[in-house]
């Protein structure tokens, strides 16, 4: 049954029930580990033959289980994710891993651990800077993660297995980048919403299955089989923390625009940077994970400078966006902030400064991660897209 569907049909099948495949794998004796942030090194889980499952929110799922857990002033995205967990959607999990990427993540993992008992929990403390001595600490933290997985599964992890896993994930990431290459065409060969559907599907599959699915989808896209309608659409880059919900993309695509590029955790942020193959695979992992483009990292042009060069600072923090804008021929940027997000919230004026400095129109939108809160954003988006005409 599973082998009969390929490409986008398989994507739809996975999305209809993300747990179906994981339950099959569990029936074969595998264990599933949940996580909800791009800072969890999935390579280690894969190498241990564990199945990493990204926990997602659901904007249509009522938030009913949070009264004694997290307040309404907390990151509505994570609150929603945890709510879906507490409502039983991830009841197949055997373990959970959290990282101190931001405070909301740190609180989430602790509150989860206090409320639901699993076989395995791991919390990865991590530095907020790129200081070399912080990186040392992070490397030790990764070693601990590895040994804690070993203790749980009772199996040692060899260097070869870890390297093979890193290679598998690098290949997986390069396939996602290949998919994104198809979005550089005008019109793009894959729409923003189809991209998100594909990325959501692979976020709950073992890495090699995800790669096979990506290959099939890329083939279909190249053949023009999943192209969105071809009328003249505005090419939009969406910047934000985690954009895992289709309504957020459809909001934009409803107005003759297409999300051709993103900088968020479901997409480019997670897949545009590989792990370097080094003699010591742990070192490669540490360098890669500390340097993702999330606003949570305190990034500086020169560590220990005596005078701050603002232009250089903006370049250090946002130049990757300029690169995306040029390569993907972006016509407008939508900054999509989840309310109560501090790391991205403080960036907004400077991010706008940067985008204005390269003369790219931009719009700041705040969402509360509920379908209802999207309606008032429509006028803003439509006006913005009309200014691009």
């Amino acid at each position: 049954m599973l082998d009969t569907l390929h490409g986008m049909s398989r994507v739809s099948q996975v999305l209809a029930d993300r747990s179906a495949r994981i339950r099959e794998l569990k029936a074969q004796g595998k264990k599933a580990v949940g996580y909800f942030c791009s800072y969890v090194p999935v390579e280690i889980l894969t190498a241990m033959d564990l199945v990493p499952v990204r926990i997602l929110g659901d904007m249509d799922e009522p938030v009913t289980e949070m009264d004694t857990v997290l307040p309404t002033s907390f990151c509505p995205f994570l609150r929603n994710c945890i709510n879906t967990v507490f409502r039983g959607r991830y009841d197949f999990l055997d373990g959970v891993v959290g990282a101190h990427s931001c405070d909301a993540q740190e609180k989430s993992i602790h509150v989860w651990k206090s409320k639901i008992k699993y076989e395995f929990y791991h919390y990865l403390d991590m530095p907020a800077t790129l200081h070399p001595w912080g990186a040392d600490m992070y490397r030790s933290s990764l070693e601990k993660f590895k040994s804690s997985c070993e203790a749980w599964t009772g199996k040692p992890l060899s260097g070869e297995a870890l390297e093979a896993s890193i290679l598998a994930h690098n290949r997986h990431r390069s396939l996602v980048r290949e998919l994104y290459e198809l979005k550089r065409f005008d019109p793009p060969l894959v729409s923003g919403s189809d991209t998100l559907r594909i990325l959501t599907a692979i976020s709950g599959l073992p890495v090699d299955e995800g790669s096979a699915l990506l290959e099939a989808v890329i083939q279909e896209a190249r053949a023009g089989k999943i192209q969105a309608d071809t009328q003249d659409k505005k090419r939009i880059l969406v910047v934000g923390a985690c954009l895992d919900a289709l309504p957020l993309i459809r909001l934009i695509e409803d107005f003759d625009a297409d999300v051709v590029m993103d900088d968020n955790c479901m997409g480019a942020r997670t897949y545009f940077r590989d792990v370097s193959i080094t003699k010591d695979p742990m070192q490669g992992l540490a360098s890669r994970y500390l340097d993702l483009t999330c606003a949570r990292t305190f990034r500086e042009t020169v560590a220990g400078e005596f005078r701050k060069d603002h232009a250089a600072d903006l370049e250090t923090r946002f130049a990757h966006l300029g690169n995306y804008i040029e390569k993907w021929r972006v016509e407008g940027v939508v900054i999509q902030l989840v309310r109560f997000c501090d790391p991205f919230g403080y960036e907004v004026p400077e991010l706008k400064d940067y985008l204005n400095s390269i003369n790219i129109p931009n719009l700041y939108l705040e969402t509360e991660y509920t379908t209802g809160s999207l309606a008032p954003l429509k006028t803003r988006l439509q006006t913005f897209l009309e200014t691009l005409l």
Binding site: M66, D67, T68, V69, L70, P71, S73, F74, H100, C102, D103, A104, E106, K107, I109, H110, V111, K113, S114, Y121, Y123, D125, P127, A128, T129, H131, W133, G134, D136, M137, S140, S141, K144, A295, R296, F298, E300, G304, E305, F306, R307, K308, D309, H310, D313, L337, R339, F340, D342, P343, G345, Y346, E347, V348, P349, E350, K352, D353, Y364, E366
Partner: protein, 452 residues
């Protein structure tokens, strides 16, 4: 007004300590006038303060300053400027005041202190120190000032291990190493910037004074377990800056604290309460409505005594053997690291993993024989609000102690409605009465019983 209304009995020794917060601003302003450098710092829970002190670099704390601006009723101008500059309105209220202040300083006052600024204002800094403990705002806020000032930011890291992780010697080892590395690197940075070396003996002396002061403060606050409680939270907040910010001269602060200790001890011996008769004993989380502190006077009239506050503003539990560590950097690092992890071992024994955001409140409510807990929800302060629903449930489940939540904000006066809160407080008394009886009937837990 009737003459026999209950008033909070303020401690005499408090006044000298309260005035010391002004020392910080006065010396900052004097430094500016003398052309000496001034730094801005986040609260670092003693990670950076002794270094600043030993390097003779004047420090002011924009978080504290923002609270002062809010309390003086002058916040709205800066908040409006911050909004106008495009910062999201849900960001930390303290940071929004500071961002608006800097926007005004740079764009409206040619880099000088705005004339209307309370307490003489904050002088423009030569460097700003961010710190990663407990809140993301404190990592990003100074960075976002880059669009106004070319002042460099040094970001100081700390480790934040979880409850179970802290039990692991490896985790302890690397956490300590990180905290020590950060101290050394920060010293090196300041030395390069100021062109002078740290006097290690002076640093060592600062550390000793800091530890002495912290222990003395801890010992003083422990006396508040007495019934009736001799010291109200309002006095606690007044005497907090000298040890939390190390404002003013440390040796003088130690003297002041000794006087405070003596006075509180005297009250305990004479069974004098800060609020008499003490009908209800309360725990307070986290930061008070600085602009409406008279709210507590109104509650005192009803016999409410506030006997304990969050661990985050209290001195850390004294760490044994600290004096025996010869390397000052290690001694310093262990002291700092103990702030957020000091209750972890007990929490683990209690199967409680929210760590510093869950367990300490249960311990305090029990040790200080509280009848209820007051949670001040702060719309724009995540760190002071995230744990409220969780911890309230914990207090009820483990101790049958009810709690009371009032919405407010750090600085936005519009969110805190004192009248409404007082109306609800009246109803909450019934709840405290009910659970007190219930605890007595069920002998739950025995050491939390109230004298009749």
């Amino acid at each position: 007004m009737p003459t026999d209304t209950i008033k909070i009995k303020r401690l005499k020794a408090m006044y000298r300590l309260r005035a010391k917060v002004d020392d910080m601003y006065t010396s900052g302003l004097e430094a500016m006038k003398d052309g000496r450098p001034v730094a801005w710092s986040m609260v670092t829970w003693w990670h950076a303060d002794p270094v600043f002190k030993a390097m003779d670099l004047e420090v002011v704390y924009p978080e504290n300053y923002a609270a002062m601006v809010a309390a003086s009723g002058k916040a709205s101008r800066y908040l409006d400027l911050c909004d106008a500059d495009g910062f999201p309105t849900h960001l930390c209220g303290y940071s929004r005041i500071n961002l608006g202040y800097v926007s005004r300083m740079v764009n409206g006052c040619a880099g000088g202190i705005p004339p209307e600024a309370p307490m003489g204002g904050l002088p423009k800094p030569v460097m700003m120190l961010s710190h990663s403990m407990l809140c993301d705002a404190r990592v990003k806020w100074f960075q976002s000032l880059g669009r106004y000032m070319d002042t460099p930011v040094w970001m100081m890291e700390t480790a934040l291990p979880g409850v179970e992780e802290w039990n692991d010697p490896d985790v302890r080892k690397w956490s300590l190493k990180l905290v020590m590395d950060e101290i050394e690197q920060f010293i090196a940075y300041l030395e390069r910037m100021l062109g002078r070396k740290l006097n290690r003996d002076r640093y060592d002396e600062m550390l000793s004074d800091m530890i002495t002061l912290s222990r003395l403060a801890y010992k003083t606050f422990e006396l508040r377990k007495a019934t009736p409680c001799p010291m109200h939270s309002r006095d606690f907040w007044s005497v907090m800056p000298p040890y939390l910010y190390m404002s003013g001269d440390l040796k003088d602060s130690i003297d002041c604290y000794q006087a405070l200790y003596d006075e509180v001890e005297q009250r305990v011996a004479s069974r004098i309460g800060a609020v008499e008769p003490e009908k209800y004993r309360l725990l307070f989380a986290e930061l008070p409505p600085w602009h409406s502190l008279e709210f507590f006077d109104r509650l005192a009239e009803r016999g409410w005594n506030f006997v304990k506050e969050s661990w985050a503003y209290n001195p850390p539990r004294p760490l044994e053997g600290l004096e025996d560590i010869s390397d000052p950097v290690e001694r310093h690092a262990r002291f700092h690291l103990h702030v957020a992890t000091g209750y972890h071992a007990d929490a683990l024994a209690d199967d409680e993993y929210m760590g510093y955001l869950g367990y300490p409140y249960v311990k305090f409510a029990k040790d200080y024989a509280c009848d209820g807990a007051f949670f001040h929800g702060l719309m724009t302060c995540r760190s002071a609000s995230t744990h409220h629903p969780y911890t309230r449930e914990l207090l009820m489940r483990k101790l049958k102690i009810p709690s009371f939540q009032v919405e407010g904000d750090l600085v936005d006066l519009r969110l805190f409605n004192a009248e409404e809160a007082l109306r609800r407080a009246e109803v909450f008394e019934e709840s405290m009465d009910y659970y007190r009886e219930l605890r007595q009937q069920e002998h739950f837990p025995a050491d939390n019983m109230q004298p009749a």
